[in-house]
């Protein structure tokens, strides 16, 4: 119990002599931490999950029932993925289908992207997923074709691709602005009322 109290009490850490007394052998750990921080900063977008907003739900396409999802929600410029759920009319999942996604932006040839959707690309292994980069905002058309032993099917849908910025989300922007403003306003209000019994105490004292 005595040992535990010593370990959980942060007070000794405030003293510089303890910081100096630390061993210098943590080089590998530091390199590991630095690499991990670098990974966080790089955030490889292509590794993000898929699924997302339902664009087509249980549409009959030839001998199949097809649902299509896009991610992120809303679609933003950069890496996007299109996931496709292919089922038989009885609800069982179709394995081994050839699924292709064609994305067309603003009708110019340069803006046509064609990718095969595969199980390997999908996080949810019920889906076939295709990941690709969209460079321009605006209205895009997506066509999904499915081919298997049973036959062929095709579905289409349109989606708006918006510029990539977290500031486009009014709710998130509002929360980001309101939270620090509220904290500061609260602090000023508390200070204006004079010293409080809890001032300067952390949770726990």
């Amino acid at each position: 119990m005595k040992a535990e109290t010593r370990a959980t009490d942060p007070q000794p850490l405030h003293r510089r002599d303890h910081a100096r007394a630390l061993p210098r052998s943590g080089l590998a750990a530091r390199i590991g931490l630095a690499l991990t921080c670098l990974l966080v900063l790089l955030r490889p977008e292509s590794a993000a999950g898929n699924g997302g907003a339902v664009r087509v739900a249980d549409a009959v396409a030839g001998p199949f029932v097809v649902s299509v999802f896009t991610d992120p929600n809303p679609l933003v410029v950069g890496w996007v993925d299109v996931s496709v759920l292919v089922r038989h009319p009885d609800g069982s999942v179709v394995d081994g289908a050839d699924v292709w996604v064609v994305a067309t932006g603003s009708g110019t040839a340069a803006n046509v992207i064609r990718r095969q959707a595969t199980r390997a690309e999908a996080t949810n292994k019920l889906y076939y997923a295709a990941k690709f980069e969209i460079a321009e905002p605006g209205p895009w058309r997506f066509a999904v074709t499915v081919e298997a032993d049973e036959g062929q099917g095709r579905v289409e849908f349109g989606a708006e691709v918006v510029p990539a910025s977290v500031l486009d989300e009014p709710l998130v922007l509002g929360a980001m602005l309101a939270a620090p403003l509220l904290a500061v306003a609260w602090w000023i209000w508390r200070r204006s009322r004079g010293p409080q019994p809890n001032d300067g105490k952390s949770p726990g004292g």
Binding site: D9, A29, G32, L39, V40, A57, F69
Partner: protein, 287 residues
């Protein structure tokens, strides 16, 4: 194994920012433990229960966010509900029980440690803010408010898929849960709520989770457009999915608060009894 079940079992997400954040937390803690073990012949080590609690908290967060529960939470409301309960009632209390701050600090490189110590110094803004947010009334209102507001259909639908709003929702849940559990768990115990006040404190989210759970279970139509539009799997209709979600919030979610409430009640009664016995002994002593 059916293809659907196999697909579910294999649907683990590899979301780099989350994987990295969780791995980073676990690694920093491990480095801290190693340093504490070398220092003063290991006498500064935290109790084994706290170490287990920390890693269980990380594992629960991992399961909630990156396992098939997280992947399928976009298709099934009841899995989304399970995910939120795992985070708010599982991961956060476990991490708080571990009281990991000192060990994490020892795991940081020296400049980062000095910076964190400076930021959280007594009398500083960060400590003041943390103190304010963990006042029982504030923490309770924020937590109950966050849970209630995010279940409003328009907001819940907005926070689906991989979106900034979804990240905001999870961040708010995590922060308010951290503030809410602090006065109850309080690892150092210096400002922990007494048994009576803790009983009342826990009763508020208990009634809220019962209310939301009952509303979801007895609703006659699907309340959330996202799940009403999702393709149906496993033979579950959107309404059945919602009813299961309601039951998840109502039964396990409610019991989670009820059990500690009963423990607090028993402890409060025990405390009262001992106080009365002591008073009687004193009275007898005076005679």
């Amino acid at each position: 194994m059916s293809p659907e079940l196999r697909a579910f079992a294999e649907s683990w997400a590899w979301d780099w920012p989350l994987v990295t954040a969780l791995a980073l937390g676990a690694s920093v803690y491990a480095v801290g433990l190693a340093r504490l073990a070398r220092r003063a012949e290991g006498r500064s080590w935290p109790a084994t229960g706290r170490v287990i609690s920390f890693y269980l908290g990380i594992a629960t967060a991992w399961l909630a966010l990156l396992s098939p529960i997280g992947t399928y939470s976009e298709l099934f409301f009841f899995l989304h509900m399970t995910q939120h309960l795992m985070l708010v009632l599982g991961a956060i209390p476990l991490l708080l029980l571990a009281n990991p701050l000192a060990t994490l600090l020892w795991g940081l490189p020296r400049p980062a440690r000095a910076l964190v110590v400076r930021v959280v110094r007594p009398g500083g803004f960060a400590r003041w803010l943390a103190g304010e947010f963990t006042r029982p009334i504030v923490a309770c209102v924020l937590f109950v408010g966050a849970v209630g507001v995010w279940h409003v259909p328009a907001l819940y639908d907005l926070a689906q898929g991989r979106s900034a709003v979804h990240d905001l929702e999870h961040t708010i849940f995590a922060l308010t849960a951290l503030a809410f559990w602090w006065p109850v768990i309080q690892p150092s115990g210096r400002r922990r709520l007494g048994y009576g006040p803790a009983l009342l404190y826990l009763a508020v989210p208990f009634f809220e989770s019962n209310l939301i759970g009952a509303l979801l279970t007895f609703a006659s139509t699907p309340l959330y457009t996202w799940y009403a539009n999702a393709p149906r799997l496993w033979g579950l209709s959107a309404l059945q999915d919602q009813q299961i979600a309601g039951l998840v919030m109502w039964v396990p979610g409610g019991l989670y608060f009820l059990i500690p409430m009963l423990i607090m009640l028993a402890k409060a009664l025990q405390q009262e009894e001992s106080r009365q016995q002591a008073a009687e002994m004193q009275e007898l002593g005076r005679r």
